[in-house]
């Protein structure tokens, strides 16, 4: 290069350019390693909302006694279900109070057993009474809580009970026959306390029954004994006092046959309340010589059905009845002692959940459970557990699936209906069948422990045969 050229101003400009290029290169190197350009070499995505939620299982089943609910986190199983009051018969509901959706739920219903509810005879195990229709058990009685039954109420229809075992009534000379019962009735209540009738149910022809004690609508007690042929009818023994006062009273009636005299005496709380004497003619038999003891119903009195509470019906049919106690037996033990030698003693303190599986009048060994049909359906959403199945079949233990369940926060209608099977004898009408029913819901797979089971097996849950 020409030396003179280097001395020209242009050579200075070239030098400055070189310096600028060097600086630019350094700037690029710095920038490439700084965050500004480092971001170009990495791409970052942050998923902030990776969430998963576990559902909740919380159901309630509503029957006649209101909702039976289980909270989320509560597990009950078939082996250890939640006991629910009331009955599923009629209209009820199933509510999904959790967050689990129907697609993740499964439900089944099943029955455990079926039997006819009984009122045990403390002295003769083969002679229980079978209560019908609206009978409330373990009511407060003369001996405290649980010592009485209450008749009347819902479902509609006269409530009563009758023995399954027929007896023969006798009245021999020298015999003392006694019939005692505790009763309580408020003003306006009353009806037949007990009766002896040829019919095992409540359809006897008027006048066919015998030995009836009833509480009239005026609160007075009347004891009647009917003879056959309508001849020489003993007059009824009616008290002058009223006993429909809401208090417990012990009525004790004696029939004493002595020679040609029949003396019927009604005692209340140890005091004579009424007495009648009549000519006793052995050849003229009483109307009912063979029949069934009833409590709560009689064909000859008005009202026929009793409304109120009863306890400890004791029968001395062997002619050896004791004299009236001067004071009422103060305890159940004392009552039992008083009943020593009695033919029958229905304490009426039953739970309503014990059943009679033996033969019954009219139908023999055919179970009422075979003659009663159950249908359990659901609506909104619709599902059918079973339709017109004999109660005995339902009670066999099989699980019946409920195909549709309510969505979270909604309720599904449940309807359990009862019908008498075609051709079933009217004898079964009103019988109370204990068919423990369990509704079970599971969240998730069959192995899931998220289960809730609702068992309706109380006395109130009984299926009443229509």
């Amino acid at each position: 290069m020409d030396p003179e050229l280097t001395s020209r101003p242009g050579s200075h400009r070239a030098g400055a350019g070189a310096l600028f290029a060097t600086a630019l290169l350094l700037l690029l190197v710095w920038a490439g390693t700084s965050p500004a350009l480092g971001a170009w070499t990495t791409g970052v995505l942050t998923n902030q909302t990776n969430g998963a939620g576990a559902g909740t299982l919380a159901f309630s089943v509503t029957g006649s006694a209101g909702a039976c609910a289980q909270a989320a986190g509560t597990t009950t199983t078939l082996a250890a279900p939640q006991a629910c009051p009331g009955s599923l018969v009629g209209s009820g509901s199933v509510t999904n109070a959790g967050t689990t959706r129907p697609g993740q739920l499964s439900a089944t219903v099943r029955g455990e057993s079926c039997g006819t509810v009984q009122l045990a005879d403390r002295l003769v195990s083969s002679a229980p009474m079978l209560p019908r229709r609206s009978v409330q058990f373990r009511q407060t009685g003369p001996y405290g809580a649980g010592s009485a039954i209450t008749l009347g109420g819902s479902p509609a229809g006269g409530a009563y009970a009758a023995s399954v075992q027929a007896q023969t009534s006798t009245s021999v000379n020298g015999g003392r026959y006694g019939y005692g019962i505790w009763f309580r009735a408020a003003a306006g209540q009353g009806g037949t306390l007990f009766s002896f009738d040829a019919s095992p149910v409540d359809t006897a022809t008027t006048g066919s029954d015998d030995r009836t004690l009833s509480l009239g609508t005026d609160g007075r007690l009347t004891f009647t004994v009917l003879r056959g042929l309508g001849l020489l009818q003993p007059p009824a023994a009616t008290s002058t006092a009223s006993y429909a006062d809401g208090q417990w009273h012990f009525a004790y009636v004696t029939m004493v046959v002595s020679g040609l005299t029949l003396t019927n005496t009604v005692y209340v709380d140890g005091q004579q309340a009424a007495r009648q004497q009549a000519l006793n003619v052995t050849l003229v038999q009483y109307v009912t010589t063979t029949g069934y003891w009833h409590v709560g119903w009689g064909a000859t009195s008005t009202p026929a059905y009793f409304t109120g509470s009863l306890s400890n019906f004791v029968v001395f049919a062997g002619g050896n009845a004791p004299a009236v106690p001067t004071t009422n037996p103060a305890t159940q033990a004392a009552m039992n002692t008083f009943a020593t030698g009695a033919t029958d003693h229905w304490v009426l303190d039953d739970t309503g959940t014990t059943t009679w599986t033996g033969a019954q009048p009219v139908i023999g060994t055919t179970s009422p459970c075979d003659l009663t049909l159950l249908t359990w359906t659901f609506a909104s959403p619709a599902a059918t557990a079973f339709t017109a199945l004999p109660a005995s079949t339902v009670a066999a233990g099989a699980a019946y699936a409920v195909a549709a369940l309510p969505a979270p926060g909604t309720a599904q209608t449940s309807t359990l209906s009862v019908a008498r099977a075609s051709g079933a004898d009217a004898y079964v009408a009103g019988l109370r069948l204990l068919v423990p029913l369990t509704y079970r819901v599971v969240a998730g797979s069959s192995a899931s422990t998220w289960t809730q089971a609702f068992r309706f097996a109380s006395a109130d849950s009984a299926v009443v045969v229509p």
Binding site: L37, T42, G43, V44, L45, G51, A52, T100, S445
Partner: protein, 248 residues
Amino acid sequence: MSNDLHDPRHRVPVPGGPGGPDGPDHLEPASRPRRRFLPLVWAASAVAAIVLVLGVNGTLSAWTSAIITNSTNTAATANALILKESNGTADCYSSQGAANSYTCATINKYGGTTTPFSPGDSRTFDVTFSNAGVATGTSFKLTPGTCTQTPAANAAAAPPVNNLCTASGELTVAMSCSNGTTFNAAQAWTDLTYAAGPPAALTEKTHTALGAGPGISWTCRFTVALSSTASVTDQGIVVSQPLVWTLS
């Protein structure tokens, strides 16, 4: 500025011309030379007209201007990596955020809470990642955040509240990835994978042999499950865990 050549006031009279000493009386003798020049005048005029026309038409106008067009004035930015995530319905790009880092709130890989888990539930969630930039990514990293739950674990509560973030055999998360736009379990990566376990046990994972050029995709599958024998104390719990994905 005056121009003597064009200023009529300084025009030099032409001898014999109008206004000159020679008047019309001298016209006849002078007309002969002018006739000789007249064809030249006409020819010159014609040439001038031609030149004018050519100049106006461009043939000769290019001669009057010089033009250079630079058609390649471009500048290039450096090649960048852009991470794209898609679950088929929502897309997220790292370039949506400053510094090429974006928080994507529309893709939930644990299933959400709309349909809560019941015992035995197992659900899979696939997300497809791709390199939406022009550089080549060589590694892909998952950095899990802290697992939290609502309500908080409380063994003393009634009913108790389990810890679904840490409890073994209750709520589990499994994760695996493979190349391609769909998950291929048979060709799953061996370095960025997590066998079913509690969410809190998920640790940072890096796939080092990515080689993801522009447009290349890979898919990760999450399997979230609640044990078929899940405790009832798991009920009603919502767990949440951020996941950070880095393509570099």
